[in-house]
């Protein structure tokens, strides 16, 4: 297992408030790492630091053995694909045109045939090749998210960072997107995602990073992070886990009358 991204002793504060305090993380090839924690625990901040979009106040980030700061934006984009939190563009670009923008770090001024071929392959892999000529703005939320994921793939990265890829999706689409992301990890990409829902995270992830009060605890799936005691430490006392296959589901404790 090769480690593609390493963050050592990361500190970050925002407006005088400490968000990350001496955080050390490691992202490995072929693994699906999931960052969990409550709202405001710094999940997205950590991901944005890993993507190079925010500079940490302290600590170092190494990407494939090189310091992240030494990489140009273009070099970085060829290694790290980052999916920001969801937003809608104003202009109804076709799906193909949206995905094509993922090629920006390879394209000089105007994309060529090779770029378009890679775009079609990305659309095929995500399973939305039939949508390629549709206006992006007319798609459903789930379809739009798949388009943005195809855009990350068109970038041909080694590491994929996803900020709440399932945030606005319904139940079925959540499962679809996560199965897809699971496949990326199985095909030797390093995948990191910020997720809200521990249930869906436990079903698909390999490694879990819990953020609490600016510090992290990292668990691999073999360590069973879904045990009630671990969860109660992160989310509070009102949770219980229920075994499901070799993993578990998390539910809030309700009063039984």
């Amino acid at each position: 297992m090769t480690s593609l991204l390493e963050g050592l002793h990361l500190f970050f504060s925002y407006g005088g408030r400490g968000v990350l305090h001496d955080v050390t993380i490691e992202v490995q090839q072929g693994q699906f790492t999931i960052i969990l924690g409550k709202n405001g625990s710094g999940k997205s901040t950590l991901l944005r630091i890993m993507a190079g979009l925010l500079k940490p106040d302290g600590g170092t980030l190494q990407v494939m053995g090189r310091d992240l700061n030494d990489l140009s934006l273009t070099e970085r984009a060829k290694i790290i694909g980052y999916l920001p939190q969801f937003h809608r563009p104003i202009f109804p670009f076709s799906v193909e045109d949206v995905v094509l923008t993922g090629r920006a770090s390879y394209v000089n001024l105007i994309p060529g045939h090779e770029d378009r071929r890679i775009v079609l392959r990305a659309l095929e892999r995500v399973g939305i090749i039939h949508l390629r000529l549709r206006p992006f703005t007319e798609l459903s939320g789930g379809e739009q998210q798949l388009v943005m994921i195809a855009r990350v793939l068109a970038q041909e990265p080694k590491i994929v960072l996803l900020d709440e890829p399932t945030a606005h999706l319904d139940f079925v689409n959540q499962a679809h997107v996560l199965r897809l992301i699971r496949e990326f990890a199985d095909s030797e990409l390093a995948v990191v995602a910020v997720l809200h829902d521990p249930n869906i995270a436990f079903l698909y992830g390999d490694r879990f990073i819990f953020l609490k009060e600016g510090q992290v605890e990292s668990w691999s799936s073999s360590q069973k992070p879904w045990d009630t005691e671990v969860l109660q430490k992160v989310y509070g006392p009102e949770l219980r886990s229920i075994p499901y296959q070799d993993r578990a589901l998390v539910v809030p404790i309700i009063d039984s009358k």
Binding site: A51, L53, L73, T74, E75, R76, A77, K78, G81, Y82, L83, P84, H87, R88, P89, I90, F91, P92, F93, S94, D97, V98, L100, T101, G102, R103, A104, S105, V107, L109, I110, P111, T137, R151, Q155
Partner: protein, 336 residues
Amino acid sequence: MQPRLALFLIYLIPVPLLIGSLFIGPADTVSTKEVLAWLTGPWFAPTPSAVLDSGLVRTIIWDVRLPRVILAFLVGAALSGSGTALQALFRNPLVDPYLLGLSSGSAFGAALALATSWMPLQVSAFSFGMAAVGASYFLARTRKSVTVISLILSGIIVSGIFTSLLTIVQFLTDPFRLQTIVHWTMGNLHNASWAKLNSSAPGTLAGLVWLLLFRWRMNVLALGDEETRAVGLNPEHQKLLVLIPATLAASASVAVAGVIGLVGLVVPHMTRMLIGPDNTRTLPASLALGGSFLLLVDDCSRVAASFEVPIGIFTTLIGGPFFIFLLRRSRVGWEI
């Protein structure tokens, strides 16, 4: 209409329009036959050469109509190309080339030159136009980045300041010069000449070629700052790479033709309605369509009245209702 057909028509229209516009002018001065003879003259001469050599025909067509036709086309192309680029940059379909204070800056520069003769009119209009946009940009810049909202706000403020300065100049100047200033601000293609064309064309063409080269980057920028950075481009650099040529082209046009409204807003919309939002196709098409549009409007203004109505008024009178008609009957090419 099929986008492919639309694209074909958009590129075809300018040819007959450019030639046809040479025939248009105050009716009895030069007859259609004479224009035709002059145009075909070099190749075969059915008309006695005496008529052609009369000098009058040559002067009217070569020195009056031709520069005007070319200038109208160029200015239309510059305004709509600049508008298309800035709409992508601002991710906002309501943006036009004047948003960042270009029009009021240029108008103030022109008024200052007309009132005080401190420097040549076009140079002054051009410099103040560029300066106004530059001021908007730097006022909006905080912590090395420029957000769309802060740019729009500073654009409004800079526009307001230059409009006030313009009013002061107008207030202090004598009535005769005041009239010239007011005429200038309404657009003035009727003073077109080779000299004006020569002073405007280099800036306009340089800006447009630059925009054409970077047209695909506008697609990337149109998706958002963070999305742009994520695929490996620095959004701040890319914004400047679009803002500078867009301002250069529009500023060079405004300096010679005055403030011509609506073209830079309406034509980008028309182009997107016809062939979609992809800037690799929309930008070049908007140049052809914008040039044709302004030329056609200028033709109308020459035919409609026996005296010259400033072109800026005509673009609004003709373009406004037409635009509303389009908006009401078709998909507009953007969503809120």
